[in-house]
């Protein structure tokens, strides 16, 4: 009995002394070995996980590349991934955790506009830089000096589509079905303000996220006898349900789709028949850009397939490198990194030349596209 006690005490002593030694030994070169921790907020579950999971992969790929090249200023880059669930409330909680528990200075995200809008106030209060890799709601423009994005605002997406619809197609009345989230709302606001300015009429019906039965909403919109139907959902999954139910209720309108839908080849292909001739406006990719090619190859090597949603993939990949350059230039400080990114001018990445304005938005815009035989091609009148 006594022997066991003595052995126990000895083991305890070894653990305490050993632990203390490790801790004391590590203090003098702590900065050298400690990684730079950067946060990430994106939709890792739910319908929008189709974006969040590839985004996580893409960010991890860029981080691996950077660490293989020696990290940032000799320190490893480490990402702490949090699930924003495409919701403002969840993202605000995730942001609180990243700021208070992990003490990060920079967060990549959110992906959904709702996530960025939810996380931004927490970022601003704590002087942490929130760098979105995909949020496009016009409501985020000039929101805070601690927020920026390397993706353009939907203001151009909406106005490009309104002009094609009114001028080229001579549509005067458009029915609009919109999911009650910030990204689809941004598309609606941008489209309807330009379309009404031109002299058109827009009738809108909204639906709550999570609704899967659209028949009654579509029945109501069908009765409006509009020239076209604009579908603005947060995710392709919701649009897929709407398109399926459109066929089922025998309604074949002219269709306009938000870029979240046109950017999903599987959904466009599966619904090729009803989408034939549908209009979209997208922020495109340049397959001849060597950095873009490199990104595609690296992703294929790592994950065995091409990344989905290429226009987002390039943004996510570039975002990590922009943050690396920023930290190397000004140090790991939220305020300074924010300042650096807002003055980015002609930075070359997989998504081409990136210039970010003082309002935090990437300068550059969307081009009109059209669906032909299940593929999205440039619209040429």
């Amino acid at each position: 009995m006594k022997a066991i006690h003595i052995i126990g005490i000895l083991i305890l002593a070894i653990i305490i002394i050993g632990g203390a030694a490790v801790l004391m030994g590590s203090t003098d070169n702590a900065n050298l070995v400690q990684p730079i921790k950067v946060g990430f907020i994106g939709p890792l579950t739910g319908d929008a996980a189709v974006y969040g999971l590839p985004a996580q992969n893409m960010v991890a790929l860029a981080v691996d590349e950077i660490n293989a090249q020696g990290g940032v200023d000799g320190r490893r880059l480490e990402i702490i991934y949090e699930d924003g669930k495409c919701s403002g409330a969840n993202s605000a909680t995730a942001m609180q955790k990243l700021v208070n528990v992990d003490n990060v200075e920079v967060v990549l995200g959110g992906f959904c506009s709702s996530e960025s809008l939810g996380a931004e106030p927490v970022a601003t209060q704590n002087k942490v830089f929130l760098f979105s890799l995909g949020s496009s709601s016009p409501a985020l423009t000039g929101k805070s000096k601690f927020f920026a994005r390397d993706y353009p605002s939907d203001a151009t997406q909406g106005s490009v589509l309104a002009e094609v619809a009114y001028n080229d197609k001579a549509w005067r009345k458009v029915a609009f079905i919109q999911e009650q989230l910030d990204y689809p709302l941004g598309v609606y606001n941008a489209f309807s303000s330009r379309f009404k300015e031109l002299g058109g009429v827009v009738v809108k019906e909204e639906f709550a996220p999570g609704i899967t039965d659209f028949r009654s909403i579509l029945t109501k919109l069908k009765a409006e006898d509009a020239d076209a139907l604009f579908i603005a959902t947060q995710t392709p999954a919701a649009a897929d349900r709407i398109l399926k139910q459109l066929t089922e209720i025998n309604w074949k309108p002219n269709i306009l789709i938000a870029d979240a839908i046109s950017g999903d080849p599987a959904t466009v292909q599966a619904n090729a028949e009803i989408l034939e001739g549908a209009l979209a406006a997208e922020f495109g990719i340049d397959e001849n850009n060597p950095k873009f090619r490199h990104m595609l190859d690296a992703y294929k090597n790592e994950y065995g397939s091409e990344p989905p949603y290429l226009s987002y993939a390039q943004i996510e990949y570039d975002g990590v490198y922009i943050i690396r350059d920023a930290i190397e230039a000004v140090g790991y400080d939220g305020e300074k990194v924010a300042e650096y990114v807002r003055n980015l001018d002609g930075w070359q990445g997989a998504s081409g030349s990136i210039t970010i304005g003082q309002n935090g938005d990437r300068i550059g815009g969307h081009l009109p596209k059209v669906v032909r035989d299940g593929a999205v091609v440039l619209y040429s009148g």
Binding site: G46, T212, R215, K244
Partner: protein
Amino acid sequence: MVLEQLILNGIIAGGIYALIAIGFSMTYGLLRFLNLAHGSLYVVGAYLAYLFFSLGMPIVAAFILAVIGGAIVGVAMNYSVYKPLQRRKSNSLIMLLASLGIFIFVENLIIALFGAEVKTIRTGPIIQGMDFFGAIITQTQVIIILVAFVTLLIVEVFLQKTKAGKAMRATADNKSVAQVIGINVERITTYTFALASALAASAGVLIAIEQNLEPTMGLNVIIKGFTASVVGGLGNVRGAVAGAFLLGLVENIGIWFLPSGYKDAIAFVVLVAFLLFRSQGLFGRKE
């Protein structure tokens, strides 16, 4: 034409809500707590059907196996969690929390097994609906309505006419008295869980075929099933059916008059109205 369509849509939605609400009501009658995990069985049913279907089984076989699987999971849930808790005389709040725990556990288990993304069961090409008294209905929807009605009929006959069904109602009515007159309460509880879970699973499979499936699909349906069973009078099976169809119709016809963004809000207004003015529900008795 529009009104006919909205009424039909309401009936389809009501059929699904009814399959959920009956089970919700039955387990409430027996255990006197809100079994949130009832929504998990709906998800389990949907994913089992998806699994069997993607293994190459015909959809009818996948449907039947998923329903049986759902019943087994439901019974297992009772044996592994609820029964031990009841033995410790846990109150209904603890049971509610436990069921919430199961609900979250199942959701995460499904994410781990199948991934978080949306899955689809496509039994064939998307085809145009048929004309039905001025409204349009698809084949799948006809099947949903038929399955819902036939199931409801069978459950009704079972509960009213068979010995086991009568025992179930007696146990739900008053457990101690049922025990005194020689009903094996434990076995009846198992039967009830099996039946309630099978119904929820069948609703899950129907929705999976008609729309598509994702791990988080259970939450919305619990809310609707709960609302329907409160409207009908908790613990009352016929009431749950009536409540479900009332809810489906009010929701779908309501958005003709209101912006469709309020579809879910309409359901809650109905719920609050019943809680305020007729808390015993449509067919319930005042306690």
